[in-house]
């Protein structure tokens, strides 16, 4: 599917995409996981993660990207992301208040510090990443059905 010359863009674009797409995904994950220490966070990182899949779709065509994340998986992951965020918020009730950060805060500026913030960032990252991908997929499918 990937090496099919009939779908997607030219060989140049495909080669460059093959080299960069993993880096973009990795950068998105970095932004999510480092959200509590440096600029960025769940939303920004999630957008970058979604962009890496959109990039794949633009270069190789819809089928390659859908083989990685199907539409059902995307919608399920989106709900799971939202549920995770709600769970992190409800977890605060154990300490007495909604949204209370009850996990150990750790040493400032360590990767594992700031308690529940990192969990919220991860769940927002999942929700936003998959959500944006699903929106793009919906637009692509709409465009296809219009042409047919």
């Amino acid at each position: 599917m990937i090496d099919n010359p009939k779908t997607g863009m030219t060989l140049i674009v495909k080669t460059v995409t093959r080299l960069t797409v993993g880096l973009i995904l990795l950068f998105g994950i970095y932004i999510i996981l480092h959200g509590h220490l440096s600029p960025g966070g769940g939303f920004a990182g999630g957008v970058i993660v979604a962009l890496s899949f959109v990039h794949l779709m633009l270069a190789f065509g819809k089928d390659v990207a859908v083989a990685k994340i199907s539409r059902n998986l995307a919608t399920n992951l989106e709900s799971i992301g939202a549920m995770m965020f709600l769970l992190v918020a409800v977890m605060g009730f154990l300490g007495g208040s909604f949204f209370l950060n009850i996990l150990a805060k750790g040493k400032p500026f360590d990767l594992f510090s700031s308690g529940a913030i990192i969990l919220s960032n991860i769940s927002i990252g999942i929700k936003v990443g998959v959500g944006l991908f699903a929106i793009f997929l919906a637009l692509v499918i709409l465009e296809k059905t219009k042409k047919e």
Binding site: A82, M83, F98
Partner: protein, 502 residues
Amino acid sequence: MNPVHIIPLFVIIPLAAAFSISLLGRFIKRFSEFLACLSCALLLAYSLYVTIFFKITGQDILVYKIGGWVPPFGISMVLDNLATFMLVTVNLISFLVAIFSVRYMQMYTDRPKFFTLFSLMVCGMNGLIITGDLFNLFVFLEIASISSYALVAFGTEAEELEASFKYAIMGSIASSFIFLGIAFLYGFTSTLNMADIARVLSLKHNLWVVPFVSVLFLMGFGLKSALVPFHAWLPDAHPSAPASISAMLSGVLIKTLGIYSLVRIFFNIFGVNKALLSILMFMGALSMVVGVILALSQWDFKRLLAYHSISQIGYIFLGLGLGTPLGIIGGLFHLFNHSVFKSLLFLNSGAVDYAAGTRDLKETGGLGKVLPITWQTSLIASMSISGIPPFNGFFSKLIIIFACIQRGFIGYAVCAIIASILTLASFLKVQKFAFWGELKDKFKNIKEVPGLMKFSMITLALICIFGWMMVVPPMNFFILDAAKVLLQGTMYSRLVLEAAAR
């Protein structure tokens, strides 16, 4: 359980229901219907519980600090008597509409998606009512609006998509006005907590920002509540949605998003003045008359009801805009009554659509013989909306008209009476062309709607009949206490900050 900890549940329950439905609804049969009804029932139970708790203990305000942060710095949720009044109204209607939707939505495909969006809309409205933070109010307003844009387009026919697109554009314009207003307020007061904004504004002098922001909010929330110069989206959007969603939109959404937020900001944060009140009254009277005149010539059952929503919103604004105790009581009472009878009428139109397959008044006729429950409940609702004693609409209209006369606004009182007579005329038309007269042959074999739909309609009709009990003791605390919150004006700020410090 300490009632303070109930406050965040108004957001948690519908949100959890929405995402569980979207996750599991496709795999488990009837799961989405069950969970949506259960969450609405829980919300109704909790809102009744806090109302009774306030009545018994004599407390009148509860502040919940999210994450344990003290209000000017963190987000707070504020539950006072006006909020409980709105919560009971919203959750009562959404519970009954959810019950109605169980059978009604079998006309459509992809029910889990419907109930997901429905729960999100309920979450947005509940959150908007209990929040004490201006930006949070905007976020919940957008949750409710965006899910309602999607719900209006749920049938995905060309007409529905067009209506939804129009609604989305107008709604986004309204949201941007509101957002701009919030940005100005934040820039000026450096705080987003509603009580704290009121405190800072009361300390400053020469406030050019308050009139300016008031106009922005008037445009934004006026668009959301479909006051007359801003009403163009409503007659398209409300008929296009599935009937249960029309009932939600007309019954509670425009009131929560438009009226509640507007009066909360105007009365409790800015503190009203004569100019604002007279604008509210004038726009209310204008919507009242224009809405009903436009409704007279409609032949689509739901479109006619949509125009009547504009007209009845006018009554509520007229009552609230008077600013007197009697006017505010009348306005709030009419708000409750309108949500009951207008939802009932929309559910009736849905039942007619479900049974007969059309809602064009030129095609129907004589349906009263085959749909007795639908006919009788719609008769009650029609008499209620046109202000015939002893139904609830009569008492709220009477209070509003008395309040107008008490303040000396005879012209507005006459407007209200004329609009009421025209309402009666157009509902006589509905009754004549839909339910009375000759039964056409093609409708001979249709059957009355299923039991769950009947249950919702009968319950709402009973509330219409016994609605007058809310203005006489011992039930009248429900509205009197809510009116008291608006009457105390910017005292709100002190009360909230004191309650938060406790």
